[in-house]
Symmetry: C3
Subunit: 269 residues, 3 copies
């Protein structure tokens, strides 16, 4: 059986129109010619770390163990923020220490190291493009077999964001937030159906902007055109959807906006 | 000689900014680590199946025999619409049964099966993301060597769209439609030069919006700036073009709009 | 040790929403199934050859020697402009002869050939899509081991653009230009810090649009929000930046606009 080629995924806010992603791929393949590079996305919104943490978190977990993931949204590039190599759930992660790895660091037994061994960077490191000069080379060296432990010491304080838990404001009320607007204009909230399972059987009202949503649909084709519905999205979060159209545009909301949930048992009215 | 790696192409309206495509790639590589994944496009317009069928049709036929193609525009996800595996022209296809495979099903001896063997899906299937939970795993199992016949029975009624034939409205007049506006603003009509070969030698008038086009140019550099021309596009269809600019913007038209063709022999005036 | 798979990069203005890129990949893999295809970008601005030459130049040089690069922005497709295969710095290049290869042809001992051997094109060559019919097959044949010398004779006059040198207008003044606006709205000028090293230590004023910039920041996090700074970009060029925002939007400028530099020694005031 042939040796499996090491797999590296790339996630960033570098966009697709510039040389940034191409330069990173070139650096990786120069250091580890056998690497297989897979793009997750380069269209993360610039500087939006919380949204990036969500998107990256919903993608990396589907890859096989042993995959090396590079995740970069990096407004602090060139400053003192640390480059991190993490190990979690059998995957490896390379990223700036700014919260983008929150979903990985939440795994049991996750470990993070501050990379201090500069011999695994490019020889010359610019102050503005660590994707090419720091993170791509680190991933390529990991792919080539370098052990994380050689790159730097464990740190306990790698940054984790606290974004994915709604807060309870009264017995029957919670305040959450919009994690992301997806391609289709679906509004992904941070209410997990698994944590609010009564949404499926009891009465609820989700308030977003000036609109209220109180019906949970099973799938898109069940929804009336033009009406807002809640739906249990593929990430496990409740989404607000508008059939074959953009709920976000109708609601006039963006990632980060608040979402209020009120709920009560049917017999409780 | 090394065994060739199985080749899987991906075509969808999932966009490039979300986790959708990354999750699909992860699922594929988890099931079939040796697969080679090639993106065709993920920027198909949401829900526009006819346009998607055209774009996908112009791409898949250039790949080598044996390629497995996943094509997804799927407004009916979660409803009763069937998942299909098709075989045509030596290629394999995985898609929802909604017409997106029209170009493949038009091939001689094309076969389509409704996939009913749920063991080739992910264990848990969401109601909103069959790209990840149904179609990616099917493609990966095909790549790993599972035969289509094992996945489900042949069906004769897989959906085919009837979009690519202009209708004749009088002796010298036909009504067609715009298949797609491409990146450059070229207006791709559904008039095939091979079916209307006299366009190259006789008089014709194409009417689109409020404009008429009556000159067929050989290539872009032959066109005067600012003037609309017909050109025999690389897909075999007549396109309306505006040199180094957008004919679609000048015409104010979109995919699906009507195009009228009038033609007569030169000596016939 | 396994034979390394031949590596082909793709750079174009074909966009990501059409069948163009997919068709090219299919053609390449039909001719050379073992090729590894890496996208640099397909979002170059249509017809903008100078900008494309810059972007491509900043990407290809990071790939390993032996890589085959296809670069296409081709407003002259179908006309008499020549298809070129070039060899430079141990890399191979396939492109229309319109200046997009300027950075490669500037390398010591660079060689360019006009491809005249039409057996390395597709059998039928359209007048509008040489990416699929000419350049993809050439790259695939190179990947399959065909030597450039067999494809055509050396030419000395392959087109080179003269865009990257500012002109001196007086003892202390130079006029340059904007090479590109990047994803983040950073304004990349054609002033190289290595050619104007005194910018780092002496007084200078960069004038772009109605604004003047006279402070060189070390990295983004050093910059005050809302203020314009010069920064030594990762390509070696001076960029005008606005922290976590778009300098280009604030300045109202686009690629090709003029940039004036005035400089004098500190003691010289």
């Amino acid at each position: 059986m042939a040796t499996r080629r090491p797999l590296i995924t790339l996630t960033s806010d570098f966009g697709s129109a510039d040389h940034f992603v191409g330069a990173m791929k070139g650096v990786i393949l120069s250091i580890c010619p056998g690497a297989q590079i897979v793009d997750i996305t380069h269209e993360l919104r610039p500087y939006e770390i919380a949204e990036a943490a969500f998107t990256f978190g919903e993608a990396w977990r589907w890859f096989p163990k042993g995959t090396i993931h590079v995740a970069i949204v990096d407004p602090g590039v060139g400053s003192a923020r640390r480059p991190i190599v993490a190990e979690a759930a059998g995957h490896l992660f390379v990223a700036p220490d700014n919260g983008i790895l929150t979903s990985a660091l939440a795994q049991p037994k996750a470990k993070a190291r501050e990379v201090t061994k500069k011999s695994y960077f490019l020889r010359t490191v610019s102050t503005t493009f660590h994707g090419r000069d720091v993170f791509a080379p680190l991933a390529a060296h990991l792919a080539a077999g370098v052990r994380p432990a050689i790159m730097g010491d464990l740190v306990a304080d790698a940054l984790r964001l606290r974004i994915d838990k709604p807060g309870q404001t009264s017995k029957r009320q919670w305040t959450g937030t919009i994690l992301k607007i997806d391609r289709f204009g679906n509004v992904i909230t941070n209410f997990k159906l698994s944590e609010f399972p009564w949404i499926a059987t009891n009465r609820f009202v989700l308030t977003v902007g000036f609109e209220q949503v109180s019906v949970l649909a099973g799938h898109y084709a069940e929804c009336e055109y033009g009406e807002l519905y809640a739906i249990a999205g593929s990430s496990g979060y409740i989404e607000i959807v508008l059939r074959e159209s953009s709920a976000a545009r109708k609601l006039g909301v963006a990632a980060g906006a608040p979402v209020d949930l009120m709920g009560w048992a049917r017999e409780d009215r």
